[in-house]
Structure formats: structure tokens, C-alpha cells
């Protein structure tokens, strides 16, 4: 979508602290919420260590439930001739005492949530989440990996089908989000790593590189998917028009249970406030702009020219319902099953 109101909810994994107020301007790397989360704990058998009955442990505690303790600090002990102490094995907090044992929560880890999107805080759900919004362009990818990143978009291809090779990535790409056209080649991955790019965006990539890209220190986004598929022309044109602008990208891809698709967000200055994207469910009609998601036309974009009532046979022999789509150029008008089409908005 070239211009819409982008909204992204930034949530804490557990109730914590929100650090921004509604209406506040935020930068992508700004921490907007944080929480201390338990990562580990220790069970200390105090009754055994002090050689006392399990039922009497509370009497021998020198720290109470909820007390913070330093490593080595006594938490329970007995005086007299056989003086003994039980010391905290690590810095933490006493969370429970029972059945002769003490449960020590080891110093929790600080988890910080960044704004991710440059924009304005639209909603604050106290202790839970923050919604950031900004007018801008959104491109949804087909597949991605790596986390989130923020940087300046740098388009290094002249055409949507130009492969992204190592030689396309030069020193000017250092610290930038690099946009190629067609298929990412192995040489581009090495060069991108050496030049410490913030992210790579291209149309596609061969499946054999899958394992290699999973361990890269920056996100990768494929707008069309796997194979050797050029970037869809409208996406390439949109990204090229935004070169030099700051963008936020996320390579996170999940198909089920809180499904996520990789995305490229480009905040844009605008006089008028654009509308929030409409909910899904718009019917496919003649004239709809669509993208094909499976071979042999994967990645091709075109317009629906007819919606045949009868199911039709496709190359593999299956009879399916679908649409006739004009993909332009040599491909012309082809029949594509409905389920292999993505409606573009």
C-alpha cells in the first residue's frame, strides 16, 4: 500500500512498565516498555542444611518472603554451639518458603520493547502494550527471517528482475537496508555481511540458501518467495521511489498461531491523515489487482479479466475454480486457481 495509516502494537511478554505517553513522538530504537522477567531460580533445602525439622524452617529465616538478597548473603541460619547459615547462591529475591525449602528467584532479566516504527504513540495499554502509528507505505513480503531492523533504504537494482549479486553491494550500503530486484545470490549474502548492512530485500532466493540465511545477523525479506522470481513490478517501483528514506523492516514469518508476515514500513510525511487499512474480506471482482503465489506464475501481478463459473483444468490435471488474470507481456491472460491469488490493495 503506497500510503496508509500504519499501526503497530508493541507488547510486553508479561505485565511490566510502559515508558511513553499517548501522543508522544518516538524513534524506532527508543525503548517504549520494559519488564523484568524471571529467567531462573534455585531451591534451597534449608531444613537439611540446618539439620532442623521441615516444619520449623520459617523460624530460622533471616530474610523474609519478598526480600532481595545478594549472592553470599545469609538467608537462614541457627546460632549457638553449632552455628550454621544458608547463603544465597546468587543475587535474587526470596519468593516462597515451604516444606523445608526456600525458593530463590535469581535476578530477573530486563526485557525491553523498542518502538520499531518512527511515529506517534496512539494507544497505551497500561503495563502491557503501546500502539505506534504513522502515515506511510507498507509492503508485505512472502517470506523473511531475522528480527527487526531500522535504516535507510538503498535500491541497488535497475530492474525488478535483476539478480542481487555481491558486486551490487558496495561501501555505500554499509548500515543501509539494501533492496535488490530478482533473486538473491550467495555472493550477495557474503558481501552484505562484510559491509554490515541492516537488511536485505529482494524478490526471491533459491531454497538451497535457506539454512545459510537463518544465521545472518540481519533480516532478509523476500517479497515473492522461493525460487528465481523477480520482484513484483509495483513493489519494486514503490521501493525505488522511497530510496534514501528511513524504513523499519521485520523478517519475522509465522504462518500459524499469531501469524506474522515480513514487512517493510516506510513512514512518510503527509498533510492529511490517511485511513487505516480496511479489514480483509473484499470480494475478488473483474478488475481486481492480484498477485499469483504459486508456480508457474509465482510473483506475477495482473488484473482479473474474467471469473469463469465452471471449474477448469490446470496443468497438473486438477479441476479447480479460479480467475482469468491478465499478467501482461508474453504471459498474457492465464487461468489461476482462486486459492493461488492474493488480492492487492
Amino acid at each position: 500500500m503506497p500510503l496508509t495509516m500504519i499501526q503497530r502494537v508493541r507488547s510486553l511478554p508479561a505485565p511490566g512498565e510502559v515508558l511513553v505517553k499517548k501522543g508522544e513522538r518516538v524513534e524506532p530504537t527508543q525503548v517504549v516498555a520494559r519488564v523484568h522477567q524471571t529467567q531462573d531460580f534455585r531451591i534451597l533445602d534449608v531444613a537439611r542444611a540446618l539439620r532442623i525439622p521441615r516444619s520449623q524452617v520459617k523460624r530460622f529465616m533471616v530474610k523474609e518472603i519478598g526480600a532481595a538478597v545478594e549472592a553470599g548473603q545469609p538467608i537462614a541460619g541457627r546460632g549457638g554451639l553449632f552455628r550454621r547459615f544458608v547463603r544465597a547462591p546468587a543475587k535474587g529475591k526470596i519468593v516462597a518458603v515451604g516444606n523445608g525449602r526456600v525458593l530463590l528467584e535469581v535476578e530477573p532479566q530486563l526485557i525491553q520493547v523498542h518502538a520499531y516504527l518512527k511515529g506517534t504513540v496512539a494507544v497505551v495499554a497500561l503495563g502491557q502494550s503501546v500502539t505506534i502509528e504513522s502515515p506511510g507505505a507498507i509492503v508485505q513480503g512472502a517470506w523473511g527471517c531475522g528480527g527487526e531492523a531500522f535504516g535507510v533504504l538503498r535500491v541497488v537494482a535497475d530492474k525488478a528482475d535483476e539478480p542481487l549479486r555481491g558486486r551490487n553491494i558496495d561501501v555505500a550500503c554499509h548500515g543501509a537496508i539494501v533492496v535488490g530486484g530478482g533473486c538473491i545470490e550467495a555472493s550477495a549474502l557474503e558481501q552484505a555481511q562484510q559491509l554490515q548492512v541492516r537488511g536485505l530485500i529482494a524478490g526471491s532466493m533459491e531454497g538451497e540458501l535457506c539454512a545459510q540465511v537463518q544465521v545472518l545477523p540481519f533480516p532478509i525479506i523476500l517479497t515473492e518467495g522461493w525460487g528465481r522470481v523477480p520482484m513484483a513490478e509495483p513493489i519494486f517501483s514503490l521501493l525505488r521511489s522511497q530510496t534514501g528514506r528511513e524504513a523499519s523492516i521485520s523478517g519475522e514469518t509465522r504462518s500459524r498461531f499469531d501469524a506474522r508476515r515480513p514487512e517493510i514500513l516506510v513512514p512518510l510525511p503527509t498533510e492529511t491523515k490517511p485511513s487505516v487499512p480496511p479489514p480483509p474480506g473484499a470480494p475478488l471482482t473483474v478488475g481486481s489487482r492480484v498477485r499469483v503465489v504459486r508456480p508457474p506464475y509465482v510473483g506475477a501481478v495482473g488484473n482479473v479479466v474474467a471469473l469463469p463459473v465452471q471449474a477448469q483444468r490446470v496443468e497438473c490435471g486438477a479441476r479447480v475454480h479460479g480467475a482469468e488474470v491478465n499478467l501482461g507481456g508474453e504471459k498474457g491472460t492465464v487461468f489461476v486457481p482462486y486459492v493461488n491469488l492474493e488480492l492487492l490493495r
Partner: protein
């Protein structure tokens, strides 16, 4: 509603990829399959509302069955109106929810925990950790775990349910109570909104102490001991509790399900259980035969087998052909998938199809190579699920072949029903039949049936509302007979090309056919749908066609979409080691089956 007053039943199956709706109604005094429609499920983003998918499917069903089902407020019309609109009963089955995450705890990995693992496969579950005191888990000996280790592992696993077993009834007590106390402590550390439930299915004598130990820390469910005696396994009650927890914890969380549930006249069922209901019924028709249904869904694979009413249900929530296609690839590797392909895949081609199916689960292959890769994934999902299911089957399911052959063969089942979109919607029936033969390796003389519309869950769920409806609708349902298959087996490997079976076919409408079946061959003989024939089977010495070695047989068989199949490729099925020869062989089998 009384059974006699029920005129129509709507069955809704909310799957991970597709939502299917089926209408069964009384026509001229008997229940008939009236219509079926489906639409992509809308559980996930950007819809995140199950109702949208149900609504799309019902709109199509209304159109095809010419019956108004939804009123102007978007609610299901019930009961059936005098105008014919609406339905009397609505039943719902669900497999769309994520699997129930389990931590299993017990004393012995080889006894009580093994039984618990059997119980856990009855529904959509994922075992995230196994904590035992002795034995081995997945071939690895159990490490000694301190209480702190146990608590830490439960805390980090963040399961939905902690299942605890151990001790025969009246047997071990303190070690079991130790496990219970560890579980109690671990769950108490987890935030209340995500706190796991605890299922205790161990030593029954310890129940009062378990209740006391857990106290108010977590919701506790108690089931009968999965191992009341060392020699006795009793997993039914634990299975019932796990299925109830799947409904209560996972299904209830589906977005929009609250509203959908209000339409249902009866409690919702897991889809796998509904499939098991049908298989159970079929196995009671002839108690000497078993019945088998397999369903390779987008996110899970279900194997339901029954003999004389005793059902064995096995669900793999990590194997599927869409969301969990990667699970199949991970478990079996690219080579295992590629061995079923009649062509050499390009580097990364299998990965590409797997990713496409993950990202666009309802998409379909347009070109043949992608189709064959999807079918190969389904073969491997079924083979893996079946081998695990068979390891847990009791001996009574073994049938006449149990213990007869050095390599354990598949027990005898008739019919064998195959479902799931990749199997059910294979463009050619020969592809579906070959897929089932390759994956299941059936034996003897059996019938292959295709559930192309995914109707089994609907039929199984209808049994709850009106058992007669299931019985009558089965005959008129969209289940398609692929044909009869004869699989001769031998103890050794006869020479390829050597005659091992003589078959004479006498068609009921006239005409005879005599065929000599060669070892290693796959034959299809004409016997169209609706026709009958009498088969005279005369096996060579040492060859078994399900009647005992060297024993011939005369049987009446029904026709099917493919006809009469004779699979003499041997059991277990062996593929040539050389990749080129293997591809030629796979292509030949496809041609043989008209696929």
C-alpha cells in the same frame, strides 16, 4: 431434541486450512447426504475469526442445497422451519486449534510414561518435555534430575498441562509424591494467566495426597491410572481428560469460537475423535475385519484403526501437508521425500514447495512437479505416523498376519479410507490409490475408499446427535470407492517377473478374464464403479493373499473408480537404491495406476 424429531443435521468441521460444512437430512424416511461446501479457514491473521470461514462455507452450502441456513442477523436458523430453512441439529468438530503442550512426568520411561505417551497421541498434543526417574526417553537414558531440575524444566517449557503418572495402584508412593510436589511448585511460579493444569493418572491410592499437595496452586484433574498393573495399560480415561482439556484450553481460545459454539447442539468434538467414531462403527459391521481411516491434514495427520469396536487413535500434530509440511521434511529429510518423485528435483525445489505450503496453506499446485512433491510429503507423513501408531497398537489389532512374517506387516483392514486434501483431491484417482498403497502397504484383499470431500468428521459427529443418521448417510455420502486391491505377500523375495498369483475374474454382467500376476508388478484390471465380479485367486506355493499361505480363495468384489488393483510389489515395499532406476520405477507405477 428427541432422535425421532430430528429431520436435518448440519456438521461444521473447522480445520487448520479448510472449514467444511455438510448437510445431512431425512429424505423419503432415511437420512441422506444432501450437500457439502468448504472455504478456507479464517483462524489466522488477517481474519482471526473462525466465523468468517464458516460463513463463507455456509453461503455456498445454502446455494447448492437450496436451503436458507443463516438468518438476517448472521445466526444459524435452528430448529428447521416449516419453510425448509435451517436445521434441527448442528454439530461441530475442530482441528484448527494449536496442539495442547504437555510435560510428561513419571517414574519409568518404559512403563507408565510410555503409556502416557500413547494416551497423549489420541488428540492434538505436543510433548514439550518428558521427566522420568528411570528408563530411556527417545533412546536416551534418563538423567538423574534434582527437584530443582524438574521445576526449572517445567517452568521453562510453559506447558498447557503437566501430566503425572507413576506407580501401580497401591504401589510406589513417595517418588510419585515427589513428582507431584515438583509440579506443584513449578506451576505456582508461572503467572496465573498462563498457569498449566495438572493431570494425575498414576497410583490411584495417592489421589487424596495429590489433591492436598496441589491445593489451590493449579487446576487438578484426576484420571484412572494408565498402568494399574505392570502388565496392564489403561489409557482410555486419561485420553478422555486430554481431549476435554484440548477443547477447554485450545479450542476455546480460537478467535470467534464463543459465538460458533452457541450454534452447536452438542459438545464440540476434536476432528480426530469424530473420524474414530466412524471407524469404530465400520469395525462393528464385520468384527473379523478391522477398519482403518487415515487423514493427512494441513497441520496434522490422523490414523484411526478399529477392530470389533476397539479403536486406536493416533494423531501427529507435527506432521501435515501445509502448516506442518516442514515437520515432515525435518523428520524424514529431502531424500525420503525425493524417493517418491518420478523426476529429479532441482536443488531447493522441495524446500520451496514446503515454504509455499506454509505461507499459503490453502493454495494448490498447478504444475505436476509441485503436485508430486505434495503427494510425496503426504506419503512420508502417513508412513511416519503409521509406524508410530503401529508400535502402540495392542496385539488384538494385529489380525491374521500377526507374528507370521519376519518383518511385521500391516494388520488386515477393510475398508481403508484415505482423506485429507492432498489425498482426497488428487487430480486422478490412481494418484490417490498409489499414495495410499505406498504409504500404508496394506495386505490381503481390501477396499480402498477416498474421502474426497472430508466428510468423515461430519459423519462421526452426527453419530452423537443421531447414530442412525450416520449409518444411513454413510451409504449415500460422498465417500468414493477407488476399488478392490489384492496384495499377495510372501516370506521371501520372489524373482521379479516370476508368476506368484493366478487371477480369474468372472464379471457379474458377463465376461471372464484370466491374469497371471508377476512378482514386482502393479496391475489394474477393469472393474468399473457399480459393477461386481467374482475373483478366483490361486496363489503360488508359499504366497499368502490373506487366507493363509498357499491357500486360494473365491470372493465377490465391488468395482471402483480405478477397478481391481493387484499390488504384487512385495512387502515391505522396496524401492531401487539407484536414483535413476527408482525414478523410472515410480513413473512406471504412476502409469500402471493411470495416474
Amino acid at each position: 431434541m428427541e432422535d425421532s424429531r430430528i429431520e436435518s443435521i448440519l456438521a461444521i468441521d473447522v480445520g487448520a486450512v479448510l472449514t467444511k460444512t455438510t448437510l445431512i437430512a431425512r429424505v423419503e424416511g432415511a437420512f441422506r447426504f444432501v450437500g457439502h461446501a468448504e472455504a478456507p479457514s479464517t483462524v489466522e491473521w488477517p481474519w482471526t475469526d473462525v466465523i468468517a470461514g464458516v460463513d463463507h462455507a455456509l453461503q455456498q452450502l445454502s446455494f447448492s442445497a437450496r436451503r436458507k441456513l443463516i438468518d438476517s442477523h448472521g445466526h444459524l436458523i435452528t430448529p428447521e422451519q416449516s419453510s425448509g430453512a435451517g436445521v434441527d441439529v448442528c454439530v461441530i468438530t475442530v482441528s484448527a486449534a494449536g496442539p495442547l503442550h504437555l510435560v510428561l512426568m513419571g517414574l519409568s520411561a518404559d512403563l507408565s510414561v510410555a503409556s502416557l505417551q500413547h494416551a497423549a497421541t489420541c488428540t492434538y498434543t505436543k510433548v514439550v518435555d518428558v521427566l522420568t526417574r528411570a528408563g530411556s526417553v527417545d533412546g536416551q537414558p534418563s538423567a538423574h534430575l534434582t527437584e530443582e531440575d524438574r521445576v526449572r524444566r517445567i517452568y521453562r517449557a510453559r506447558p498447557d498441562v503437566v501430566c503425572i503418572v507413576g506407580g501401580t495402584d497401591g504401589g510406589a508412593d513417595m517418588p510419585v509424591i515427589d513428582l507431584v510436589e515438583s509440579a506443584s511448585l513449578a506451576v505456582s511460579l508461572i503467572d496465573e494467566s498462563h498457569r498449566p493444569r495438572i493431570l494425575f493418572a498414576g497410583n490411584a491410592a495417592l489421589r487424596p495426597r495429590v489433591v492436598e499437595s496441589i491445593g489451590s496452586e493449579a487446576e487438578l484433574k484426576v484420571a484412572d491410572n494408565v498402568r494399574p498393573n505392570v502388565d496392564v495399560e489403561s489409557i482410555g480415561p486419561a485420553q478422555t481428560e486430554l481431549e476435554a482439556m484440548y477443547q477447554a484450553i485450545k479450542v476455546a481460545q480460537l478467535p470467534g469460537f464463543d459465538l460458533l459454539r452457541k450454534w452447536s447442539t452438542l459438545p464440540t468434538l476434536p476432528t480426530s475423535r469424530a473420524i474414530a467414531n466412524v471407524v469404530q462403527y465400520l469395525s462393528l459391521e464385520d468384527t473379523r475385519k478391522g477398519a482403518l481411516a487415515v487423514d493427512v491434514g494441513g497441520a496434522s495427520t490422523t490414523i484411526a484403526a478399529a477392530r470389533a469396536g476397539h479403536v486406536q487413535l493416533h494423531v501427529r500434530s507435527d506432521l501435515g501437508t501445509a502448516f506442518n509440511a516442514r515437520g515432515v521434511l525435518k523428520a524424514r529429510g529431502e531424500e525420503a521425500i525425493a524417493r517418491w518423485l518420478p523426476f529429479e528435483p532441482r536443488p531447493g525445489e522441495i524446500q520451496t514447495v514446503v515454504t509455499e505450503k506454509e505461507l499459503y496453506p490453502s493454495s494448490v499446485p498447478q504444475d505436476s512437479n509441485e503436485l508430486f512433491i505434495e503427494q510425496a510429503l503426504a506419503r512420508e507423513a502417513l508412513r511416519l505416523a503409521m509406524s508410530q501408531a503401529r508400535a502402540a497398537w495392542p496385539s488384538e489389532l494385529g489380525g491374521p498376519y500377526a507374528g507370521l512374517y519376519p518383518t511385521p506387516l500391516m494388520p488386515y483392514f477393510e475398508p481403508i479410507i484415505g482423506g485429507g486434501s492432498v489425498v482426497g483431491r488428487a487430480p486422478r484417482p490412481g494418484q490417490a490409490a498409489l499414495l495410499l498403497l505406498d504409504a500404508l502397504e496394506p495386505i490381503g484383499v481390501t477396499t480402498l475408499v477416498l474421502d474426497s470431500g472430508g466428510l468423515l468428521p461430519a459423519l462421526g459427529a452426527c453419530a452423537l446427535a443421531h447414530p442412525l443418521a450416520t449409518v444411513q448417510a454413510l451409504g449415500s455420502s460422498g465417500l468414493t470407492t477407488l476399488g478392490t486391491v489384492v496384495v499377495p505377500v510372501t516370506t521371501g523375495r520372489p524373482k521379479v517377473g516370476e508368476t506368484i498369483l493366478n487371477v480369474s475374474i468372472k464379471y457379474k454382467n458377463g465376461g471372464d478374464l484370466d491374469v497371471q500376476v508377476a512378482a514386482g508388478s502393479l496391475e489394474v484390471l477393469p472393474l468399473p464403479l457399480g459393477q461386481k465380479a467374482v475373483l478366483e485367486l490361486r496363489p503360488r506355493s508359499g504366497v499368502d493373499i490373506g487366507r493363509g499361505r498357499s491357500r486360494g480363495s473365491s470372493i465377490e468384489v465391488q468395482g471402483g473408480l480405478i477397478g481391481l488393483m493387484i499390488d504384487a510389489r512385495g512387502r515391505p515395499l522396496a524401492l531401487p537404491a539407484d536414483a535413476g532406476k527408482r525414478r523410472e520405477r515410480v513413473q512406471q507405477w504412476l502409469w500402471d495406476m493411470g495416474a
